[in-house]
Symmetry: C2
Subunit: 436 residues, 2 copies
């Protein structure tokens, strides 16, 4: 029986035209991260499962991870996310490194998901993290990186918004204002995280099951009604959370200075689950009505290195997946057409004897940094142009019997249709025309 | 107990300085492949084990592959090589694609190996393949790509040589001249493959166990003594293998025309194991006495798509691993120093009020395609230069109280030590100096 030609469920074959799109996405990611001085890193495909358990708890391990026991009895997993690897690597070198430490990576990650729109089993994710910035400046910079990334793809405030919150505020509301126990806080985080996804009744029902006092329930509902930065400031000041109010205003002031405030929208339901965040948390939302989804999430954290018994090192980071990014760019028509490759010159000959000239010319043109495709068999004139077009060539050569006897080539520009008869002794001229 | 900070056995953490080396290697690989019009592709990390069994047989599957059963009861493996994925992908599209089809990829691959010099469990491998070239031109082109790749790293004939053979010749020697059975041929391939790695006695012992006639043994020993292209031609002609002789000479003639012959050395022991090759097979050897190893292998094959019940499509390809390449470049001192990153400007201020100016200036410089690092805290003058040097910055800014009151910055070129006092109203001038 013949083998299956399709890729493993939930993964993708990247044929050249698909790979060009991926390269385009990764190219802008790299350029943007590097424009902020972020340095690229990478880690292994496999990590010991212990690492993921330490960071994420059992839930993720049991259901979504590609884990197995290797031939040496090590229990390992294909990385489902990059942060644990990042923490492991930073824990090795942070003490002797100058701060801030600015790193980025674009790893492939695997999760055992049910494939659907925006969800695949293997995807790539840009991870940008900065460690050891003073005050709120790391949060500002990470937001700047995320915003400039999308702007570098051609996006603007009509295309996306950033829903933002501060875990220090949420913590203060739950613990200081509402006097919740740890267990109640834990449940409240889950409820707040789901608040926008359920009906008002379902939300009320979940809240009433936590066993809060009437006053605390009122505080919670007031909190959930906060919808802009001014509201938040008043709410915190009215409730004597002066330190939280001061620090949050400090963030807003800096956001204005960095000119990113126009993208930001306060949202009390953004908490990023039960994750390890301690400061600003955010999600970038597509504004397109057909794609109202988050395409990026991140935030500030204090204790990423704790699992390695290392001193706290404040960090801020975000992750942005290739699938959701591509969906975003497609729905807003921001993806360039990359159907065909791009090459400088397509070398053809119309008489078999043209092969020798072609082989020599190709070598010289390549040595001059040109992208050169050779056609190895004589090609009829009328077939030359469709073939060259498919390869995205800017120029073609034609070598017939007349050219052969005169040691010449015809060089044709496929855009301008200009055609030159050029001597093979005059290679500089050939190169000059192609490079012009 | 604190977690282990080291990467999984046989894999590597790529800290920024290591990642820069990898990016340098991949950059030259990509540039070279694209200069020949090769198009980049990629496939999934996991494939069903059936695919590897169909291509490589049971041996590889049992001992070296990272295989496991997924949560949906599929028996899958982390790719140990790219060729089966390539075959699967090409089988989907070859019928409607213009030939030749030129593809390359730089996948990460995993094998369960005992880690040692040049051998790790996770490595990256450049794969270049061309399908559907007439005659021997695909073989010539693939050799050209491999040679220009190493030349683009600065290597030349003093650094490496290419040991080459033709499976059509080996087949004719075994089957036509020696009249071997299939089973004997199979054993002979394994023996020839090991001929240079064992003593003359051990070789003789292995040969005598195959049960050849005295004449056939003589032919085999004559074959194993062939050491250059002229020998081969005479040997084939003297034994009436005229078609093989003609085709091989055709290859040599083209190799001369393509100016690659100076790297080629005939070696009768190069057969590339029991692999699927049918034409030219080759291995690129490091000439350095401390690193006498193959860093690249490849060849021509006719039936890669057979496992998918597709018509034969002739192809030629090679694989080159990142670890052996890096060893090669290091031993020949061909690797550039990539210890520090490279950035355009490092923005510092010496008075706290300089932060606002810095945030604004950074945004403008980035919008002008510059790589900009901001220092978020006021930095003492004497600390500026060592910090900027670590980040590979070409320029630094200095903003003290005098500059703040005059709305100016100091811009210093760290190479020439030239320093300019510039008005912040004159951004064009600042950008011009940095870009010069």
């Amino acid at each position: 029986m013949a083998l299956n030609k399709q890729p493993y469920r939930g993964t993708r074959d990247f044929f050249p035209k698909d790979k060009r799109v991926r390269d385009y996405l990764f190219g802008i990611m790299t350029k943007t991260a590097e424009s902020f001085g972020y340095e690229s890193y990478d880690g292994p495909l496999l990590e010991e499962v212990e690492l993921y358990k330490a960071k994420s708890g059992e839930e993720l391990i049991n259901e979504q991870i590609y884990s197995f026991t290797d031939r040496g009895e090590r229990f390992v997993a294909i990385r489902p996310e990059m942060t644990p690897t990042l923490a492991r690597m930073v824990s090795q070198i942070h003490r002797e490194s100058a701060k801030p430490l600015r790193w980025f990576s674009i790893p492939n990650l695997m999760r055992y998901e049910k494939p659907q729109r925006g969800r695949v089993r293997e995807h790539w994710q840009l991870n940008c993290d900065v460690f050891g910035c003073p005050g709120r400046l790391g949060e500002i910079e990470i937001l700047q990186v995320a915003i400039e990334l999308l702007e570098n793809f051609g996006a603007n405030p009509t295309h996306f918004e950033i829903l933002i919150n501060d875990r220090a505020i949420v913590d203060a509301v739950f613990k200081t204002m509402m006097n919740s126990t740890s267990e109640q806080s834990h449940r409240l985080y889950k409820i707040v995280d789901r608040a926008k996804k359920v009906s008002a009744e379902a939300l009320q029902k979940m809240i009433s099951e936590v066993g809060l006092t009437i006053d605390s329930e009122k505080i919670l509902l007031n909190y959930l009604n906060l919808s802009n930065f001014e509201d938040v400031s008043h709410f915190l000041q009215n409730n004597n959370l002066n330190e939280e109010a001061f620090l949050f205003e400090n963030f807003i002031t800096l956001a204005k200075k960095a000119n990113i405030e126009r993208y930001l929208k306060y949202d009390p339901t953004i908490v990023r689950g039960l994750d390890y965040y301690t400061g600003i948390v955010f999600e970038i939302y597509d504004k397109h009505p057909e794609n109202r989804r988050a395409l990026c999430g991140g935030g500030a954290y204090a204790n990423l290195l704790q699992i390695f018994d290392e001193d706290p090192l404040p960090g801020v980071g975000f992750g942005l997946g290739d699938v959701t990014l591509k969906d975003f760019l497609e729905v807003h028509k921001l993806l360039p057409n990359l159907e065909t490759p791009s090459n400088d010159v397509y070398l053809t000959f119309q008489e078999d004897e043209g092969l020798d000239v072609t082989l020599e010319l190709a070598k010289i043109l390549r040595a001059n940094q040109l992208k050169v495709i050779t056609n190895f068999e004589s090609l009829k004139f009328k077939k030359v142009f469709p073939a060259a077009e498919k390869k995205g060539a800017k120029f073609v050569t034609l070598i017939g019997s007349e050219e052969l006897s005169n040691n010449q080539i015809q060089l044709k520009n496929l855009h301008t249709k200009e055609q030159h008869t050029l001597s093979l002794k005059n290679l500089d001229e050939i190169i000059k025309i192609i490079k012009a």
